[in-house]
Amino acid sequence: MLLKLTCLIPLFPLIGSIINGFFGLKIGKKAVGFIACGSMTLSFLTSVLVYVGYLMLPEGQHVYEQVVWTWFGASDFNVDFGFQVDPLTLVMIFVVTGIGLIIHVYAVGYMQEEFSYYRFFAYFNLFVSAMLLLVMGNNFLLMFIGWEGVGLCSYFLIGYYFEKKSACDAGTKAFIVNRVGDFAFLLAVMYIFNIFGTIDFTEVMHAAPEKLIYAGEAVTIITMLLFVGATGKSAQIPLYTWLPDAMEGPTPVSALIHAATMVTAGVYMLVRCSVLFNLSPMTMTVVAFIGGGTAIMAATIGMTQFDIKRVLAYSTVSQIGYMFMACGVGAYTAAIFHLVTHAFFKACLFLGSGSVIHGIHGEQDMRKMGGLKKHMPITYWTFLISALTIAGIPPLAGFFSKDEVLYHSLMDGNIIFWGMGISAALLTAFYMFRLVFMTFHGESRVDPSVHPHESPKMMTMPLVVLAGLATVGGMLGLPFLHGWHILHNWLEPVLHFDLANALQHSEHMLHEAGRHAPSWAHLLEPKEHNGWIEFALMVFSTVVAITGVVGAYIFYIKRPDLPEKFTQGQWGLDMVQNKYYVDELYDDVFVKPTVEGSNLLWKECDAKAIDGAVNGAAKTIGWFSRQAQTLQSGFVRNYALFIVVGFISLLLAMF
């Protein structure tokens, strides 16, 4: 019966948001903070209760669905406003409410000085609510409410400082780029309904092997569209450009939305639809490639940035690339595993950077930092732990999750994917420690008028908690204890997929249609889990990570002149530093032509051609009218002439 509480989980933050939004200005900052954090706490506690309730479900039942009301429908199409609780959802709920709660607490401290404090928390709570809808919805459209809802909150929060043009632009850009993804997502949903006659997750996933042909056109298009949707939300190539700009928002926003939760929604969606993706090898390949490519590309850009938050942003893009690569090779557990650990350490990193920025009064440029270690020890140590985690140093959480991704990319994918992954890992270790060294070590380059100081408890406590989680998070999936991989076992009911059965159905369907099925026998060959290879890879990636760290140490501590030397006169650097000119490219290819074309359309087509035709018709009539008028000369003999002319013409017409 505890599961009946499910619908309360997203409701609490929503209520918090409404209260803060409407009455925030009247009730004062303290109350606002209390309501925001309180609603998050309630939500988290409810999640725990729901978890307990879920554990008490009878054997064999993996999904609990709660339909609150029928949202809308027409004919045989019906969408429920319903929630589902299954292992995957539970993982996501805990990530969202847990990390959400921590970051809320942090934000209470961080945003203390802001005038529209209440506005921030209204949006923030609303975001959590939307994110919960996203992960809890039992059908594609409910997920889409959340999907757009988080995008909307992201828009508000990026543009929180709405008097800054760059912030507004960034917000708008984020929303519109996301909309491109949403466009594809919507089409996918329609296609799914077209095929399945339902958009309920459970039903679709259950029916998929029977209704879709392996590698068929439909499944490929659906999954491709879904994936495009995911690239929008999760900032993958080609739709990643909004995320770095999104750093205009307050830092807690970056931590919660643009690192821990919202941007991973794409990964969640892919895993949720794993059955569909499994049926389309082509999409899988594309997903893996895009993921791997994004991981490398973002990492390279990350190496050249100087804005502390932007580095982290590119790092996020890169890490999500990992997750997609994992999905692309079918290692969904690894993807979720990395998602969870990434949420821990990246949130910690962002909050740490926020603490730094807070400590030196809003400066974000790393070139104006340095030597902050002694001023803000807690921040430093937590930041360091997280950096080590992301770099993949054992036995921290990031090591295990990243390693699992790499292992699967080699074993289930091929060497190219693994190569991408491992080189990205090298770059990650390097740029993370470039960040750490430039910020906390070396000489202080801070503006002398600024006195760096450690942040208040309210902000450091969340850092500690997150660093702790980043440290022990790896327990979720220890590699050697095969069969004891907690996350794997936990997610098994969601990810279960019977390929043989699906192939059999496909063959049957193809025969029905009079087509010959290609040979799929090789797909069914069983694969062994090779512990030794895994171990070897682990060692190798550890070495790579350490190499990266050491490299950063040499470049930024030992020989600070080296980066200058290496990059002197390199055309490549310029390109990377300018993010491969992708923004400019999009601007030239999409934005400007659209705006200019629209102007043209308006001024030339609408005003001149269409309206011109309308007014032209009126003018023509006017012209004729004047002609008709001049005929009326006032001379009687003229009039008589008309009668005669009329007579003659009538005669001619008659005979």
């Binding site: 004729f624 008709a628 005929l631 009687v636 008589a640 008309f642 005669l651 008659m654 005979f655």
Partner: protein
């Protein structure tokens, strides 16, 4: 030679309206001799005369009844038209009383002439013989020549009269010549006999007859002011005294259409293939020229003249449709048109004052906020003329169009509706000035009761015929 007129064929009861009205018209003339400057009595006599005429029209029962060797008919069409004529004459007289006083028209024969004109119209609508038609037309025309020029000291009035007179006589020549040819080719002036003759296919292709038809078209076309015989209309409408303009736009026009209908739709329906295309062209040209001409006008009377040309085009459709629906739609249209036009001209008269008739459309600026009711009435009339529901003009157009579509004349109807759109433009232009412009100069108007009464009747009937047209339709489609 056969006897021209058999005494037993003279049915004076059938002729009662003409006789009654002639009596009253002459009485007006006589009384005027002794009446001095006060014309009230004349007006009273005229109105009574018209009322008596209308009543006496129904004296003949059963209908149709014939008289004078089948050259005079009392049938549904003529009865309905007599009603239209008496109504329009009565309204014209009502409009004239205060107008004449204001403008200093003191001629007592004014009312007598209107009555005589009415006699001509009755004859025209009731005649089934070409001689009679000719006489009817001339009675109407000559009265109107005089009425147009009755303001002897007014240059425009004179000029209008001259133009009307010269062109009218000129067109009469054509009409007569046409009648002669028809007579020569069929051997009769009686429409029934002509109709019998033209049943014969060989007679139908007689070039003399065809030529005669063309000439008839010119003659009638002139009277109803259709293109290209319309040129007189704007000048004459503008120059004539306003009540006479209204009268001309309704009564004589209706009468001419009645004759037009009798001759073409009832006498020569078999020859439709040869005249249909001609009349259709004339109809379309009338609509276009009328509407195009009206767009640029700044003088409201002139604009309405052009508008009446375009209306002639619409009404011609009813003639071309030449079915019973066409006949009844013609009746309905003319009735609706009569009330609308008289109401409209009533307002125009009210808005004028001595020496300054305020006929420019600009003068109506801001009327809606000085005299909202007048402006609203004016809007009603204009929209009715444009054919917008729920006013009489819409039902009338609907009626005519349905007659045409029943006859398969869809192209013609499409031309007509497109022209309606053009016509909306200039009707709305007046509305624009009344409602959407600020008044330019203050002008005092006198709300004279009789004219207001006419306006009121006009509004009432225009709306009533638009919303509850049932009874009138039932009458018209008997």
């Amino acid at each position: 030679m056969e006897p021209i007129l058999a005494p037993e064929s003279i049915d004076l009861i059938a002729l009662a309206p003409v006789i009654v009205l002639s009596f009253f018209a002459m009485m007006v003339l006589v009384v005027d001799l002794f009446g001095g400057r006060n014309k009230t009595l004349l007006v009273f006599i005229s109105l009574v005369g018209l009322l008596m005429t209308a009543i006496s029209a129904f004296a003949k029962n059963p209908i149709p009844a014939y008289s004078f060797n089948d050259s005079y008919i009392v049938d549904h069409l003529s009865l309905f038209f007599i009603c239209i004529f008496t109504i329009s004459s009565a309204l014209a007289i009502l409009l004239s009383v205060e107008y004449n006083e204001r403008e200093g028209i003191r001629a007592g024969e004014y009312y007598a002439l209107i009555l005589f004109c009415t006699i001509g119209m009755i004859l025209l609508a009731s005649s089934t013989d070409m001689i009679m038609i000719f006489l009817g037309i001339e009675i109407v025309s000559i009265s109107l020549y005089v009425l147009t020029g009755i303001r002897r000291d007014n240059h425009r009035s004179n000029e209008a009269a001259l133009k009307y007179f010269l062109l009218g006589a000129f067109a009469t020549g054509f009409l007569l010549y046409g009648m002669t040819m028809v007579y020569g080719s069929t051997g009769s002036t009686n429409l029934f006999k002509i109709a019998e003759v033209v049943q014969n296919p060989s007679a139908q292709s007689n070039p003399l007859l065809l030529m005669g038809l063309v000439l008839l078209i010119i003659g009638f076309g002139f009277k109803v002011a259709s293109v290209p015989f319309h040129m007189w209309a704007p000048d004459v409408y503008q120059g004539a005294p306003t009540p006479i303009t209204a009268f001309m736009a309704v009564g004589p026009k209706a009468a001419a259409f009645a004759a037009f209908f009798r001759v073409f739709a009832e006498t020569f329906p078999e020859m439709a293939p040869s005249w249909e295309i001609l009349l259709s062209t004339i109809a379309v040209l009338s609509m276009f020229f009328g509407n195009l001409g009206a767009i640029m006008q700044t003088n409201i009377k002139r604009m309405l003249a052009f508008s009446s040309i375009s209306h002639a085009g619409y009404i011609l459709i009813a003639v071309i449709a030449k079915n019973s629906l066409g006949g009844s739609s013609l009746l309905f249209y003319m009735l609706a048109y009569a009330f609308t036009i008289f109401g409209l001209f009533g307002i125009i008269i009210i808005l004028g004052r001595k020496g300054e008739e305020n006929l420019e459309i600009e003068n109506y600026s801001g009327l809606a906020y000085r005299h909202p009711i007048l402006a609203l009435s004016m809007t009603v009339f204009l929209l009715s003329l444009g054919g917008l529901p729920p006013f009489a003009g819409f039902i009338a157009k609907f009626y005519i169009f349905s007659a045409a579509i029943q006859q398969g004349l869809i192209t013609l109807v499409i031309f007509a509706v497109l022209n309606s759109v053009i016509s909306f433009y200039y009707y709305l232009k007046v509305v624009v000035f009344m409602y959407m412009k600020e008044p330019e100069a203050e002008f005092q108007i006198s709300l004279t009761p009789l004219t207001l009464f006419v306006v009121f009747i006009g509004v009432f009937v225009t709306i009533n015929m638009g919303i509850f047209p049932g009874s009138i339709i039932a009458l018209a489609s008997h």
